[in-house]
Amino acid sequence: MPGPLASRLPAGLRPVGPLWRGASVLIALGVLAPVLSLAWLAAGSSLAHWTHLLAHVLPSAALNTAVLLAGVGAMVLVIGTGCAWLVTACDFPTRRVLHWALLLPLAMPTYIVAFAYLDLLHPLGPVQGVLRWMLGYDSPRQWRLPDLRTMAGAIFVLGLVLYPYVYMTARAMFMTQPAHLLEAARSLGETRWGAFRRVALPLARPALAVGVSLALLETLNDIGASEFLGVNTLTVAVYTTWITRSDLAGAAQIACAMLAVVVMLVLLEQHGRRHQRFGSAQRMRAIRPRPLQGAAAWGACALGWLPVLLGFAAPAAYLAWESYKRLSLGGGVSAGLVASLANTITLALGVTVAAVLAGLVVAWAVRHTASTVRTPRWPARLASLGYALPGTVLAIGLLTPALGLDALLARSLGLPGLPLMAAGVVLVAACAIRFLAMPVGGIEAGLARIPPALEQAARSLGETPLGALRRVHLPLLRPALAASALLVFVDAMKELPATLLLRPANFDTLATWLYAEAARGTYEEGAIAALAIVVAGLLPVAWLARTQLALPHVDALPAPE
């Protein structure tokens, strides 16, 4: 905790001056700038705009968004909680692998799964072909599956990819629930199901709220899957209002409506985090998984692997097969796709450097201002709110200040056009704002583990504050910095909505390349682009599996006495 640690430092040893504090406040305000600009933009437009939106756009888009959020919320809650409890409370073949494999759909951006399923379940695609062959039909005119391009299809696809958010938080919570609470419930007459329902589930409620709200924020951020599947959500409405109708004020107004939903979800998440003390309230003897035998064991195994199969294995195998076909048939990789890959890596590197540096400044300043400022953590809190802003909202909000700055630069330096937009600086800034929460949180946690005595020792040995940061903290923070950088890098690689809206002219990333292919209905190289994103996405999943869901205290359980 930064507060108490810093307050123990004598004034002369306090290593952070007003410059750090000022920089951290500026960064925090930078995160807030798009929201303020959005409100200003929306309020400044004419009332006729609002009337038009209220009559023709908002009702259907808001209803679609509400139904999508409710459906995805219910689906991720059931799959995430069910799988987490299954691998916590039961032992069956492959449980140890399933335990981390359930995270794999996190590597799949929503638009990629939608892209893969649209092709996989196409009336002329492999799945329906096999089903028709088995049922003895010859053509799709005789028999076909219902169209995936519906609200139900969108809920199915998004739910399959986003359930790991609930799985991860619920699993972590169940792993820390003391076994004796469930045993107490059993000794008081509850069955296994009753003990789960009356004790384990209520205790996990804060974690479930956090997981569901994160999944719903991702749903709100999604543009590709909703658009591919023909569901006109608020996010899609923002995009089409701006790009198709060139109506920035209208887009800003819809984005404001989205912000209201975001605020509700963030409040739900904060509320959940506030009550997380439930998890570690008592001394710990973890729940021992009950060995299942025979049909029950194989049934649990099948049930547990189903979300992994549908949310990851099937679409990933399909993409791999399509990529193989493309490459083995001599189609090769076009220069455009190679350029997109290079652009993606450049963008992701730029975002990573910007976000990690900004995160370091905020976390360092916050750690060392506790003794002088009453609410030292607000810059960190504000800087972390970017994760809740959907990419489209962020892009629209950032556009006006960015254009203003660009015009100023162009005038004062005599540059042509929009220098910051054209150089991709605005896009990097938008992505850095969106992903800043990861380095801020990671570095804050890393700093909290470094005792203040180390700083004092370095200072007493003649180091300046900056020298102590460079020679003591940065080496010790290496794991936290690397983890944050990895998470930001991969998320920036996958980012679609803000990139679509803020990219320089003729600049494609793998995500926008794939989006364009799907929009055109041409899938030639889309699979290769999608596969590259998925392979990159596996890296943070492996890291999460290692750090967040490490198993030792569950399986190497001590005997009761």
């Binding site: 045993e183 059993r186 000794s187 409620r205 008592q282 006495e561």
Partner: protein, 238 residues
């Protein structure tokens, strides 16, 4: 599997008989036996105590009586009912055996009344409220019904845990090191209080402790566990 009896039936305290009990847990190198050839007989309405150092297997015996450990050999009878053997395993919720945990295991999301009433779900609401009031009064915490576990002291938590275990009127109650988390003075006072409460309820109880003075102060029968067996199971003199 027998269904649980409704708690308002106020089950008569039952005797406990354990014969040739063997308990083991699985390790990567095969089963490790912790209790072997364990015999015990405790008459109804009496308090028995298993005394022994940490790791001697006494808590494992308690967990086996409660139904949380499988029995490799031998039998456990509660009253006339066989509850555990290598071929019979009555689930914990159907045994009518209350268990008070060393860590109390109070549900942090429920207040004191919610905890005490947890096992009384099958009672009508009014009867449940009445029983909760009685139990809270019995342990001297009638004014603490709305407090959550983290708002209670260690001694108060211990008494709520006892009230919760007693509320469904189990045939037998098991207490696993119930005073180990308390300071010396509180422990001494509560030892006497708990004994009086159990005696007033005419409850059959088995207590596990490593404290000989506590054992003698509370129990009618005391036995020492050594090498997985029970030695010197004898009546104490009041």
């Amino acid at each position: 599997m027998s269904p649980p009896l409704p708690p308002d039936a106020r089950t008569a305290p039952a005797d406990l008989r354990i014969a040739r009990l063997r308990l083991a847990y699985d390790t990567p190198r095969g089963p490790h036996t912790v209790v072997d050839g364990f015999d015990l007989a405790l008459p109804a309405g009496r308090i028995g105590c298993l005394l022994g150092p940490s790791g001697c297997g006494k808590s494992t015996v308690l967990r086996a009586i409660a139904g949380f450990e499988p029995v490799r050999e031998g039998e456990i009878h509660v009253g006339e009912r066989l509850v555990s053997s290598p071929t019979v395993h009555v689930p914990p919720e159907a045994r009518q055996v209350g268990l008070m945990f060393q860590e109390y295991a109070l549900f942090p999301h429920l207040d004191a009344a919610g905890n005490v009433g947890f096992g009384l779900r099958r009672l009508p609401r009014a009867a449940r409220r009445q029983r909760v009031r009685e139990m809270l009064a019995l342990v001297g915490l009638g004014d603490m019904a709305g407090r959550y576990p983290h708002e209670l002291s260690g001694g108060q938590q211990q008494r709520i845990a006892l009230a919760r275990a007693l509320a469904p009127a189990p045939a037998l109650i098991l207490l696993d090191e119930p005073f180990s988390n308390l300071d010396g003075a509180t422990r001494e006072r509560l030892t006497a209080e708990v004994r009086d409460i159990l005696r007033a309820a005419g409850q059959t109880a088995v207590l596990v402790t490593h404290n000989a003075a506590e054992a003698r102060a509370m129990a009618d029968f005391v036995g020492v566990m050594h090498g997985g067996r029970l030695k010197d199971w004898t009546a104490t003199q009041d």
